[in-house]
C-alpha cells in the first residue's frame, strides 16, 4: 500500500482541476470577500506611508518638509485618500468577519446587508475623515 502511494507521487497524473473564480456568479458577498483581501494586500504596502511619516517626524524639519511636500501633492493626497479608504474598508470588513466568527450573520438577508454596510459605511466614513481633514487644512483656497 505504502509502495504504490509513493510511486503515484513520483509521477503526478494530469488530473482535471476544479473550476476557479470564473464559473461563479458575481455577488456582493463574493465581491466584498475579494475586496477584503485586496485592501489587505494594498495596506501591507500602504503602511510605508505611516512609517515615512513617523520617521520623518523623528528625523527633523528637513525630512518632514519632504514628507509634507509629497502629502501636499495631488498624487500624495490621492494616495492618502486611498489608504484611508482601504484602512476603513478593511476595518469594517474585519468587523463583519468577526460577526461571522460568532456564527451569526449568515442568513440570506443578513449577509447581503453586512456586505452593503461594509462598502457604504466605508465610503461614508472616508468622506467624513477627508472632509474634516480638508476643512482642518484651511478648506478651499
Amino acid at each position: 500500500m505504502a509502495e504504490t502511494r509513493s510511486l503515484e507521487r513520483r509521477t503526478p497524473a494530469a488530473r482535471p482541476l476544479s473550476p476557479h473564480l470564473q464559473i461563479y456568479r458575481l455577488t456582493l458577498t463574493f465581491l466584498m470577500s475579494g475586496f477584503h483581501r485586496v485592501t489587505g494586500f494594498v495596506l501591507y504596502f500602504g503602511i510605508l506611508l505611516v512609517v515615512w511619516w513617523l520617521f520623518a517626524a523623528a528625523s527633523g524639519p528637513n525630512a518632514y518638509a519632504k514628507f509634507e511636500w509629497f502629502i501636499g501633492s495631488y498624487i500624495g493626497q490621492l494616495v492618502v485618500l486611498g489608504y484611508t479608504w482601504g484602512l476603513i474598508h478593511h476595518m469594517l470588513g474585519g468587523i463583519r468577519h468577526l460577526i461571522w466568527d460568532t456564527g451569526r450573520g449568515f442568513g440570506p438577508q443578513e449577509r447581503e446587508w453586512l456586505g452593503a454596510a461594509t462598502i457604504v459605511g466605508s465610503l461614508i466614513l472616508t468622506l467624513i475623515v477627508a472632509g474634516i481633514s480638508y476643512l482642518a487644512m484651511g478648506g478651499p483656497r
Partner: protein
Amino acid sequence: MSADTGKHFRTPLARVRGRGAAKSGTEDFWLQRVTSIAGVPLTIAAIIIGMLLLGRNQAAVAQILGSPFVAVTMILFIVCIIWHMKIGMQEIIVDYTPNESMKLTLLLVNNFYSWIVGLISAFAILKMSFGV
C-alpha cells in the same frame, strides 16, 4: 477506525492532541482574530491622531507623537497591525505561490519586511518620546 487504532497504542484523542508533525495549527488563525479585535479601536485612534496632527510643523508633530499617551497608542497600533498584516500576507503567499522555493523566499521576505517596518516605526516613536 478500529484498524487504525490497532496499529499503535495511542488513543485517537492523544493523536489529535499531538497535532501531527507541525505541532501547531491554529495559532496564526487565532492571532489574526486577536489582532483584528485590538486593531479596531487602535485604527480609529491612529486615524484621529493623524487628523489632529494635520498641518502642524515638525516640532509640534514630534512633540505630540512623543507624548506618553499618543506614543503608547501609536506603538500599540503599529505592533498590532504589523502582526496582523504579516499573518495576512503569509496567508496570501501560501494560497497563491505555486512552487516551494518561491514560497519559502516570499515567506522570508514577508518576515524581514514586517520586522523592519515595525522596528523603524517603533524606533521613530521612541526617539520622539525620549527626545534624543
